[in-house]
Assembly symmetry: C2
Homo-oligomer: 257 residues x 2
DNA sequence: AGCAATTTGATTGTGCACAATGTAGAGCAC
DNA sequence: GTGCTCTACATTGTGCACAATCAAATTGCT
């Protein structure tokens, strides 16, 4: 139990592009000892299924694995727990969240509400720079798809939706989508039928509609896309691991489908 | 600078109903020394404008005020900062967020996307118990309005929207609305023209539409309501305190209105 | 044998001390 | 007088040790 499990993410792709620290303060920070970096690495470990959903972990394990004090781990875990990535049982331990089928449906429901309107907004104001960024992203996706780099492809297809939110210029939307996208990844890992993520050229059709300034089509394409994503998840089965909350919801008469 | 400012919220209305702790573990916890309680009290201090928007505070100040260690304050501050209530500058201090007019518009934009669909959903499945809860809440609102208890009224009118989200049975929606509602409160404190919050009987009309099972009307009423709320905020003026991010967005050509 | 109370182990929660860092002000050179 | 540097302070970041709490195993009783 005390042996440090090989959760360590390969320190190679540590491009600190998202940290936002303009200055590099010391050597230590760059080695990923800061809270944000630890959080990123935990997330990466989850997405690469080194930390499978439902896995129970302790703060001390993580502290040993990342070779930092429990204090830093604590902050990272608290934040991930607030985002719903981890679930904390008071004195029993922390576990990687394993969203129930209903939770997965709830997440997709909100995304269907929000994302079509994002692309509608983008289509209504075709700022040129945004299009170039989107085209560049699509090219990267294609490249990864052709090269068969599945991990990279999954990451990029997820980031596509985040890029849309970012281009909307609405920080609130971006924060919301960041949370939802991460949770969606978890659900995909649990319930996806096909291995492919965001498989077809649906991203391309969305971007084309935006470029054409056709908000209605863009919104419809996004809706189709999200519907396909949800269809690919096997969420219609009876949920054996349904949380107690779901049962309560059912008892109260809330429709479950 | 070291003198502890009278941020202390009156310990009277400490009804620990929202903590969810079924068991009362020790005496200490009940006096509000736990992280969630501290967070609640900080929020309350902000909403009662004992901590005005933009006010700069330090962890040590808060620690002294609430008579707890900086460790607990740190967690509470971190979480509030993640929700956008507080803004943390790396080594300069923490401040109460003062959302720019654009941020306020962004918040309301997302609410206009989401909340009409919430009430549409509720109208499509008129679960009886939810209606009774809604009616009860409306009664409480009226009571507070007639009694002239402005603080209570503001709290209740905010909780109305949270109640709707809760009744939808979608935990993701509830979490989202909780964040948005808090931020809206901040914006109202900054930019509201009239003192009244959610003034007219618009809540009643929404509930009536839900009760009638008329999702379209319910959604429209909610949209009207949110539009009125935004109209009451003076968000059309040129924003003198616009954050740097807004300026960057403008430079990039994102439409600002 | 079955059940319950208690002890034990594991895990999180909290406080405190020190390190790192950024800011402002005084002092000095030009 | 102006600009620069350097020092002192204020604030946050981090590590560590102890306290509180909970789950389970063990042991004693019926």
């Amino acid at each position: 139990m005390n042996e440090t499990k090989p959760i360590e993410t390969d320190p190679g792709p540590e491009d600190g592009g998202s940290t936002g620290d303009g200055k590099l303060p010391l050597l230590e920070k760059l080695r990923g000892r800061t809270e944000g970096e630890i959080r990123r690495r935990i997330l990466q470990a989850i997405f690469e299924q080194r930390l499978p959903a439902g896995e129970s972990i302790t703060e001390e394990q993580l502290a040993a694995t990342f070779d930092v004090s429990r204090t830093v781990i604590r902050q990272a875990v608290a934040r991930l727990a607030q985002d719903g990535i981890l679930v904390k049982s008071p004195n029993k331990g922390t576990a990687v969240a394993s969203p129930s089928r209903k939770e997965a449906r709830d997440i997709l429901f909100v995304r269907r509400l929000v994302e079509p309107e994002i692309v509608r907004l983008l289509a209504s104001a075709p700022h040129r720079f945004g299009l170039t960024e989107l085209r560049k992203h699509l090219a990267e996706e294609n490249e990864a798809r052709l090269a068969g780099q599945r991990g990279t492809l999954v990451r990029l297809t997820g980031e596509f939706h985040l890029l849309l939110a970012e281009l909307s210029g609405n920080q609130v939307l971006l924060r919301l989508m960041t949370q939802l996208q991460t949770l969606t990844c978890l659900a995909v890992l649990l319930y996806a039928e096909h291995d492919e993520a965001c498989p077809r050229d649906e991203h391309l059709r969305i971007v084309d509609a935006i470029a054409a300034g056709d908000g209605g089509t863009a919104a419809q394409e996004m809706l189709n896309h999200l519907t396909h994503v949800e269809k690919d998840l096997k969420l219609d089965r009876m949920t054996p691991e349904s949380s107690f909350g779901d049962a309560m919801g059912w008892l109260r008469g809330v429709p479950d489908n």
